[in-house]
Subunit: 351 residues, 4 copies
């Protein structure tokens, strides 16, 4: 019953095989190998346009490098107050961005609203050079709350940003989970809706450690090679980053794995609801948030269940966490088994 | 005939199996898993003392994080003018060190001399706060020239540094190759000789992407967790970094692989010498530098040989590269085959 | 009728004379002159204890250098959401602090409450190394809203911070104005109440450009010399920074000038209140905030009055700015004349 | 007999009067005042073209901000190994440039040669993204050795840089002294010879603290406002920076003061030569370098003479400093008196 994180899962067998397959003979280092070139083109094809693709090994690196590329040191990144870049990256965006500022905005269920973004842009425009000015917007898809922006919501947010010259970044560490729910193409979900640069995650989806930064306008990526290198993020045996994506994308493996994870999240959410504990937010990806009595939490832990308690300032209006309650974040992955879900729900139902 | 770099090799089979073995079930992320703890202890045991061990995925990250940890932004790192940190890391040490300065010193065959270090320390001491002051010394072992510092040379250099309060870093991306030649224990080659922090490389030795920063005094590592995280270098599925080291160190795999590489470098060097082209520097690790007529270089390339030409300001006194000559760097690895060496030497001999 | 800012005033005559007096003969540069030493000691005496004093020429430099000295790059500075360091320094604290994070907290009238600080400390503690942790607290005295913390309020805030190991910084660009209102000694208002480092402003009080960073515990200032120098803030003809403070502090000049400014702010506030427009916050220093009909604002501007309109999220409960109203910030200084205040109030009263 | 530095002098009376004159009434802060606008235009006129002018209070700030503006963090600045930016700014260029690298080149008498610059450009070009690439060239005029580049030398150096896309910076902390010797117009000595950005110093020439960064192509200055502000270098009472330049430039005051300083340096150099101690380098500005027996140095100090001993690796071929000798740097300024020079020379002659 491991629901702690999708990164507690191992490597998906398809990807492990891909790594093994690539471990054959010699190949140029630092991304000059054929496989890297091939997979970069493949990602361009997947999104239906020319793109500049940079592989790195962590999501934090992907996000921080992306944001630094589209935000000057005296610029601000607008983002959700509970987004990963704000709460869980130990200042990596500020470090890579030489002191740029993250402006955390509120929004229910981890989602930003265009009005809030527009208001923040207005607040962080002008009064130069005294005030940092908004330079970019970062959206997380799926969000840290397990919700998914509709395509038209992304488009409205991006339009609000573009209207004032901001670039739009998407933290897609769970982009596969979002796509499965959206029933949209990668292109529709990203650049067609206004995304300029995507952190395309594979690690949470099943890779060992592989993320791709995808610039939909290669021109804005012109100094990314140097930025990645001096960040220590240019792997020498680079083919193995590409190999992970190669296997991940082959035969829709990535969507199949995400569909599995999402399906079990749905099952988990439905089970909890039936047990009297409806998820706090709609279950649209592979995360389920639920408020449980602490008593049940204790029982679950005693039974070996693994998960994290969270706080949130973006609960639905009216929802609060009682003194003897706790907000749990439950994450499913390609490796989660239905029987674990059943067992977990049974224990909750048992009270 | 791939002699371009030891990072053009694939993953050593033992390490690939180690990764596969670790890809089983769930494990806590971010280094909180059992395997990471176990392998960190194992590395401490290998060096015969308590140590603070941090795994990362690139040598540049290992070096830059190490140096930033022991050098203030207004400090200088003394190092060889042709060391990797100076010539091949795109300013990563300066970036992670918030503007620290690298002072490249001359030295034949990639090796620093204690007198040069002492003179530099004298030059970069005092005149504060106008001048950056020497704060650390970085040695590369084996050096970029394929030479190896004797234990007593390391000790003399470290003593010169410690006498003025500098910390001593060793870039050990090829530490295994050095140890094989030195016939010394890991402890003797590092902290017993005065090394304070080691970039312990495994990638060039056969790993996919795994390096360990080893602080022999855990106290100087106190903020390394945050530094690594905000550098984007804390892998979520961290067990797979540990797994690579686990396999690499098991049954002396690392030394066996290095011995293979070094042996073929010796063979290559001896063959070239016999053909009338003695290596420029003694072949003490897995690199061979040789000056060849451009005519032969052309022929080798036409035959599919892969290698890089280099420049160097640290040639032995009197050695020069003629107008129609070229200095080649030839690197062997665990994956190099004897017949490749034979074929290469035959072609050189053929003229 | 210039109420735009206290930095629109010229140099106070006493200070200009001080500069002229110091411009005599040769003196060592970079702070090694006798006058600098003397004035630094004098500031220590003023505060009744040994202190490490560093002169710089701007308040932004004083604040950013102070905060960088007490906050690691992976640390957070707690401060008011509308403090100068957040809204008007273009990311200087983040720049000097190599990416540190400012956490802006709410608080009516520009003032923080201990409970809010304690809650923020709890939120920004632990979860390391993923989350930046609170490392310092910055208070502005007098605040940007023209209010003044009571001594016991400062003490309670500092105690909340110290309880968790945070250092406490005071942005005292208007410390003289605060002291005049508090009727407290410099020692009581700062280190006796728990302040660790003070940006001691003189520019707004009447200097050309002079601020002193005062560390009440010299040990935490150990690398400040280098930090100031590489920030470009070590003036070569340093004696002229000291000379400004020398004249500013002589014969209580600084308090006399501040008393003048505060007195006219009181007069202005009382006049506006009598005219039916009571100041938004109590007038405790040299700033008056008032909500006026836009119609009157237009008339004032037409008559040559100079001031800035502001927004604020820290209005008293219930106070709002109507659609046809505007919040004005009116600042007095040593150079403000009573007749300007009278004329301004008359115009407002005229409606 | 103060020959320690031109920054040990006081404020030139003309400039002090200028400050006093500007200290009258209210003026907008942060450079929005009329005087700043006027003086910026005046500087443009002085150079005979449109220019973007930014005032700051230290030479280190002027240099570091300039270099950061024309060099990316992964770029290198080529400069003399003994230039002020390398030896005396405590890493300010690296700090403001987010880790850029200074490449110190050799050159006799503090002067770079075009061939050395071209060779360095070739060395620091390509091999991207592993190696930092040369992005700018910084020349000091007059040099730290007291020599002055001829116009055609500047032009040749700038041409070598421009041929490969580098920008050219001039550290003109002593530009007035250079111009006096060159008998050239400011335009001829700078942008007409290929300078892109100038640190135009006034402090060493007689100001309290005033330097102007002059971009001859305003387009490359587009983010300089923010860079200066977040560096803490935007003075609030900004008119007083402008006032210093206003007085300094009026009626050729700056050139008159420099001519005085240069004349006394000539006199000093000639006197020392006649005494048997010819200056090490030609005396072309306001610095004289001379090798003296330590015995005489001791005597001079005992008599109250003030100066610094230096080391240099750029001595003329064949010149060395004997065991019982010392290399003295003697600096004259607007405040130096002829009788001090006479007395100094007499003492040297006395042996």
């Amino acid at each position: 019953m491991n629901f702690a994180s999708d990164n507690t899962a191992a490597i998906a067998p398809e990807i492990l095989q891909g790594i093994a397959r690539a471990s054959d003979g010699f190949a140029l280092g630092y991304g000059n190998d054929d496989l890297t070139q091939k997979v970069a083109r493949r990602i361009g094809d997947l999104f239906g346009r020319e793109a500049a693709v940079f592989f790195v090994s962590t999501g934090t690196a992907a996000n921080a490098l992306s944001l630094a590329q589209v935000t000057p040191p005296w610029g601000a990144v607008l983002c959700h107050a509970e987004s990963h870049i704000v709460t869980d990256e130990c200042g990596a965006p500020e470090f890579f961005g030489d002191g740029l500022k993250l402006i955390g905005l509120d929004g229910e269920g981890g989602r930003l609203k265009p009005e809030a973004v527009s208001a923040a842009i207005e607040k962080y425009s002008g009064h130069r050079p005294h005030q940092v000015n908004a330079a970019s917007l970062s959206l997380t898809q799926a969000t840290e709350a397990g919700t998914v922006y509709r395509i038209e919501e992304v488009a409205a947010l991006a339009a609000a940003a573009h209207a004032h010259g901001l670039k739009v970044h998407m933290d897609g560490s769970r982009i596969a989970n979002a796509l499965v729910g959206l029933n949209a193409s990668p292109a529709q979900a990203t650049w067609e809706a206004g995304i300029d640069v995507l952190s395309f995650g594979a690690t949470k989806g099943g890779a060992l450690a592989a993320e791709a930064v995808v610039f939909f306008d290669p021109k804005i990526a012109d100094t990314m090679h140097e930025r990645r290198k001096r960040g220590g993020h240019l792997l020498s045996k680079h083919r193995f980053l590409a190999a992970q994506f190669d296997a991940y994308l082959a035969d829709d493996c990535w969507l199949r794995l995400a569909r599995h994870a999402n399906g079990l999240a749905q099952k988990l959410g439905a089970g909890l609801a039936a047990a009297g504990f409806p998820p706090v937010w709609p279950v649209e990806a592979n995360l389920v948030f639920v408020i449980l009595p602490k008593r049940i939490e204790t029982k679950l832990k005693a039974a070996g269940a693994s998960f994290y308690a969270r706080n949130s300032d973006s609960l639905p209006a009216g929802r609060t966490i009682g003194h003897d309650e706790v907000l749990l974040r439950l994450v499913t992955s390609f490796a989660t088994r239905p029987d674990e879900v059943d067992r977990f729900v049974d224990m909750v139902r048992g009270g």
